[in-house]
Amino acid sequence: MSSKNKSRKTGLIFFPAFDWAISPTHPEREERLLYTRDQIFEEGLMDLPSIEEYKPRLAEKKDIARVHFCVPDVESQVTEAHLIAAGSTLTLADALEKGEIGNGFALVRPPGHHSMRVVHGNRGFCNINNMAIMVEYLRTKYGHKKIAVIDTDVHHGDGTQEIFWHDPDVLCISFHQDGHTLYPGSGFVNEMGGPQALARTLNIPLPPGTTDEGIHYVLDNLIMPVLDEFKPDLILNSAGQDNHYTDPLANMRVSANGYARLNEKLAPDICVLEGGYAVETALPYVNTGIIQAMAGLDYSHVKEPDFVPGRFVQSEEMKREIAHTVSQVQTVWDERYNLVEEALEGLGDFYRRKRRIFYDTDMINENQEEVVRLCPDCAGYMTINTSAQRGYGTLNSAFCVTIPRGACSSCRDDAKEEYAEHLDDRRIGYVLMQDKDKDKFKFYNNMTRTEKGY
């Protein structure tokens, strides 16, 4: 059991990666957390007795491999900046489990929530999924079973959703600006998870212009009650800040106070920064507010220079639309046991889906075929056949196998057989295997016929 109540301190890792950018003028550039640094340092927040600053560490390659099939390998997909951002979440996870802190905030970049299980490159400014890496670390190292990830970024947390799609023990809730009007164009109510985990993915698309009132309506009427019923060991917040009314890449109307209040209400064990690109007008204030709310400090003095309470008012129509979405998602949640039962009835021994995934940052098109064994004795092994093309460049292909935690012997044997069958198959570039049960990870290169592992 977690001993997290030993300390009420808030652990903070601030890693602005002042020497890393996607490109000099990209929103994900060196300057992104500069004014946030100025604000939180000037506030003297790190000196307050309720806040403890930690130094980040580098995540191990194995921590990445536990979540991602990086093609061709982890080294080719991550830089030191990614390892430090991911490692920050693990440092806080350890501090939480050791009882040094009561909660924590990884105020780090680069972000991660658009990274999916298979990684061919950068998608939506993300290479690896910091949040998912922390979730799997917490489960492997500390034996947590049920975890809730609440994605409060303005963009749909499609990467996190995809990674835990088949996992009934990880509840992924994302509210975001409607995918019809914003990247990545997904996150609709009907995306509810794989057949064994239906309603463990909940999506709440919100209309552009949603205010503090709107997101707090969703929290009060849906997210908090669902969390009460799900009873997770840990609540984690993918804390994007681009619902802010000044964000240049989205169209919502949330204030720093609204974000602070959200974190007070949600009381997450750990927050991990995702997006948020209003580097001067939002981030310094939103981050200050979140840190204060987590540390139990008064955040009522945090205010954007141009904000006055009551500045943004939702129309009656918008309120009705939000209420309607909330009631639909509520129905999905209420029906969760029936949904799983019905879905499994209609399926045989295997569940298959084919998908196309576009990596906007790196202009990569990926085709996937995913197969999950619907096993009565365990979560079932999974295979993914993936191929990706970058522009007119090279085609990278891989065959990926996952042995789930607590795998039954038959799934274990079949998965190993699948791995062995694809070795040296010259039609496929790489063969990868995640043995989550034994925490061992293999990468095989079919061209050089070499294997390496973590």
């Binding site: 890693f15 020497d19 000099p24 550039r29 000037e42 506030e43 130094k55 220079p305």
Partner: protein, 556 residues
Amino acid sequence: MLIGIDVGGTTTDAVVVDGNTVVKTAYVPTDHDNLLKCMLMALDELVQGIDTRKIERVVLSTTLITNMIAEGKTDPVALVLIPGPGTNPKDYALGESIVLDGAIDFRGKEIDVLRESQIKEAASEIKAQGMSRVAVVGKFCQRNHSHELKVGEMLSSALPGARIELGHRVSGQLNFPRRAATTLLTAATKDRYAQFADDMARALKERGISAPIYILKADGGTLPLDKSAEMPVETIFSGPAASIMGVMALTQPGQTSVVVDIGGTTTDLALILSGKPLLSAKGARVGSLLTHVRAFAVKSVAIGGDSAVTVSGGNLAVGPHRDGSPLCMGGRGPTPTDALRVMGMSSIGDAGLAEKAMQMVGVELGCSSKQAAQKVIDAVVDKIVFEVNEMFREWELEPAYRIWEIMSKEAITAQNVVGVGGGAPPLVPLVAARMGAAAIVPKYAPVANAIGAAVARPTLALNLHIDTEKGEYSVAEEGLSGRVIDRRMTPEDAEKLARKLLAERAVRLGIGEYASEAEVTYSEVFNMIRGWSTAGRLLDVRMEILAGLLPSWGRC
């Protein structure tokens, strides 16, 4: 000839240094109620038979400010804050304050205006309280001085004769509550310190000593006494700084050493990394206040020669409290000093009484007095080694904000353990052996502090902030700002400007000849991208003359 005087807890030491030789030393007991008198006594004893015309410099390391603050003998100050949006000022442990509207942001932009009526009200409140000293501190006022200047002017005219300290003149670094605390302490000590500086200058003149007088600061640097009156708080904790500078003076340059100052009840630890004393990552803590004062990272451990040795439930404990003198020196209970005496590692105190002390411990532990003494010594060494390792670990775990800082920081180990203070000679070899380092107890260890003061060179820092989009640069501590024309100014240009400004500041503070020693200790540049193009650059440069020794001091 150089003179160093260090006011310690029990004795005030003085030393005359000529070239690289210690010519003469003197000690007098410290009189905490009259530091001026006791420093002069030490000086008078020291200069007997010495041609005072040959004295080139006198450096004082005094506990004046430390004592003043610890004993609450500072002057009352009204604190006026302009906090703007962010933290509730009540969450800072700064005591009573008057809070004004008005705000400046991180770019130095005014985001809320001052209200004149509030400033007038503040003035009447301060007047009603009978206060004549005011500290005015605004958030981000180091990036735009206008609010502090305006409030300062209005208070000044409403409160004739009042002493008004403005935050940006005290520190240009980020951290508003630390700036407020430092400004508060500056206002609270400035008058009394100025009085001390005057008296000291007069007393030396009366003695026919016309050499310049310097004061030692917490960062191991010296500053002319008269100029130091602008920043009295920087002279706190000069004792540990003097001892670290003394170790620098008495050991080989460029090495990594642990400085262990073992006293009666506490052991002070400090690190010299590759010849540079480690500064604490943030400023010093003064009483309950966190400040911006640059100070060496010194860890005080509650263990020393006089620590009480107790046994409970078969477990041996040394310290943290003191229960009078060691038994061998007429005290009541066993101490490490008794243990050292029994083991023949020191000749302090009465051998018979020491034996008796260790027998008391031996009875409780069921062993001989010699074995008990060994266990006591082991416990002291264990504790010191543990704390030294913690200090290295804390240094390794200091937060970093750039990839290269995280990738390049490697674990380091000490080459030397250098002992100063009374308890050092017998214990330092044991600590060093455990750490696999060389033990050094310099010949002049007992007066290392005074030597450190005598041969420390001046230090100086300057923080330059440049915003090329606004076409401005500023040096908060100097209250200085100016125009920059080049929007794409490079860090090299910024460093050149910082060097020029530091040289000017050094001249103003009477230490111009050291300006060429200045180095860039921090430099950052950010392109500001608005839309998809560069709107300007933000550059920050910290230029410093770091702690070091006078060139005339050839190392022993």
